[in-house]
Symmetry: C2
Subunit: 206 residues, 2 copies
């Protein structure tokens, strides 16, 4: 979906979203484990890219990370600032994260690529790659599927991604995939997470 | 592999195995998270089926579980008793776990079905099902693969299993699969874990 469509869809349901999904307590305990363990080994500032109402951003701050949250939905950014006044938040899109080259130790993009039209995912990953220093890490969470296909997500159209297809896009953008995690549980959509390391510029210039 | 072959292979390498893989500190941190969270929600005694040198059994005890470890390799059972004197261990095979019907709240079978000839897995799962009370839980860990196939594991031949194939065997044995987890990482064999609930006898008599 276009940025405008996604922004509009979430703006209209921001409060509903926050009440249902806007707290770390609403998340899967194994996601908390993965994100926490990932965050513990980072070196350098962290960006929560697509932070929504800021609960994961605040979680990262509580873990001692130097973290900032960005989201394309101004209503989320405004509420995130209210909810977590110690954490910096600002509006940004994946076209331009507003971060200097190689400035970050890591980016968390937790279910924040899910609404992007699949053909726009590579440019978002390239923007992530630009911002992460060589050796830094990207953690993606998304809906796992056998093929890249849209489905009627409650807020606005989202896409399933096979981890193998996401891996290809990551490698093309200058990442080396280190770990792929999947989870399928009764009553929920299949989940995938990928940890990818930013390779150095020499290695990426293939 | 036959029980005798597996027993012999591990007996000859028990000390080597213990030094390399016999401690919870040697395990993947996300496996510790999964096993711990699984154990926390159990109700009733727990069996660590194929406990090896007892490190996971002891981990479960530390989490407050009433736990016993069984293994087919006497050398592992002897060393487990030495290492963790507070935990009961005994020799048993998956043909007969030596547990009363429906006596258990859960069974952990962490990489302990991996050497079984695939055609013998259903009978092991049936024995697990016999021992777990309705509503109790089984946690399996194994090597994930695209098909059921043997590979030359360092100790003795082991088998890859697709989670879908294991799910079929579990359902046939009286379990409902609640969660399937996979992880693939550079430099290690793909991993899978399944959490399955023992369904009640009425529901299993299909």
């Amino acid at each position: 979906m276009s940025i405008a469509e996604v922004r509009e869809a979430y703006t209209g349901r921001a409060e509903e979203y926050i009440s249902l999904l806007g707290s770390v307590a609403d998340t899967h305990e194994l996601d908390r484990d993965l994100i926490s363990r990932w965050a513990e080994q980072l070196d350098g500032p962290v960006l929560d890219a697509g932070c929504g109402p800021g609960h994961w951003t605040d979680h990262l701050r509580r873990l001692g990370r130097d973290v900032e949250g960005v989201d394309l939905v101004p209503a989320f950014v405004a509420r995130a600032r209210e909810r977590f006044p110690e954490v910096p938040f600002r509006v940004a899109t994946f076209d331009d994260l507003g971060v200097a080259d190689a400035a970050l130790g890591g980016i968390l993009a937790w279910y924040s690529l899910i609404h992007l039209e699949p053909e726009r995912v590579p440019s978002a990953l390239s923007e992530f790659a630009r911002c992460i220093r060589p050796g830094g890490s990207l953690l993606l969470g998304f809906f796992d599927g056998a093929s890249i296909e849209p489905f009627p997500h409650k807020v606005v159209t989202a896409y399933f991604w096979p981890p193998s297809a996401m891996t290809e896009r990551l490698e093309a953008a200058g990442f080396a995939v280190e770990a792929v995690h999947t989870r399928s549980e009764e009553g929920t959509r299949p989940h995938a997470a990928i940890v990818a390391r930013r390779i150095d510029a020499g290695a990426s210039a293939r």
